[in-house]
Amino acid sequence: MKKSIQHMGTFFLIATFIFIFESCNKKKESLKIENAWVTESIPGSGINAAYMKITNLSDKDETLLSIDCDNFETAEFHSMTEEGGVMKMNQMDSVLIKPGAAMVFEPGGAHIMLLKSKHDLKAGQKISLNLHFQNAGIKSLTGDVKKIEDEAK
């Protein structure tokens, strides 16, 4: 009986060590970026939009400073406001995300405008984007190119 209690104690001790070790080893992610996608190029437009959801998992304010993508000359953040049936698009220099909050770029709402494309994008392709954050630094991700017609509901 005494022996088995001793065994159990050892077991828990080892388990605790493993747990602590794993916790230290696993760097806590401060950001979660989901559902990144870019619109397929519409001929003659030269402008694409990127959408995604960015959640700030840290306990500090985070700011998205800029986005760059090899295929485009520039990228801008735009917010949309409706005033009396008129949609107003306003450029945002940067995007502040409060701790625990999420910034959602979505069709018909705030979006990332990608300007002056070098090559037309086709649905099914993948495109890499670099997001520059004030605290988290550069986060690189891959977004799917999708037909806007398939995403319109």
């Binding site: 619109t39 519409i42 001929p43 003659g44 437009s45 030269g46 402008i47 694409n48 939009a49 000359e73 520039t74 801008e76 735009h78 949309m80 409706e82 009396g84 049936g85 008129v86 949609m87 107003k88 698009m89 450029q91 069709p107 018909g108 979006h111 405008m113 300007l115 002056k116 806007i148 017609e149 995403e151 319109a152 509901k153």
Partner: protein, 193 residues
Amino acid sequence: MRKNIFIILSAFFIVTSIANCKKEPPKLDMFPELGGDFTLTDQDGKNFNLKDLRGKAVILFFGYTNCPDVCPITLAKIGAAYKKLGDSADGVKTLFITLDPERDNSQKIKKYLSYFSYGPIGLTGRLEDIVKVTGLFKVLFVKRLTGNTNGYLFDHSTAAFLIDTKGRVRHLFGQNDRADTMATVIKVLLKQG
């Protein structure tokens, strides 16, 4: 026996609740202050008059090809509504009128609209002619310089107008209307003729 009555009553209650939950079909209205015939140039460089589409239901929408978000989404949503309409989509035509005739000539609009499989008609013209048409539909648009490589953009009304077979505005679709709502309203209009 009592138990049976209880079951029947419960079933009746559930059925009526479901029926009540079902949304009222959207109603069509008259907007005598909106609309009217006009002539502009289509994507093939030909004169186009709204009268040419008498007998068809028409969705009319103002935008511009350099619009990054709202215009392509609206055009895509109309496309999704066409799919939901199936065969009856033959009775519907969509007009896309540019607010940016400076950059959107017939050729550019043709190229742009070729992307949308349901064959919307693109219209351009002299700025003063377009301003007249926006006046008919009480559409507001403001050109705004952006200082980026795109040069300028427009703040603009996003309503899409549903016009009946006699050329009268009967419904306004807003930015938040989904494709299935659009299809339902269009079906009601097509039934009425």
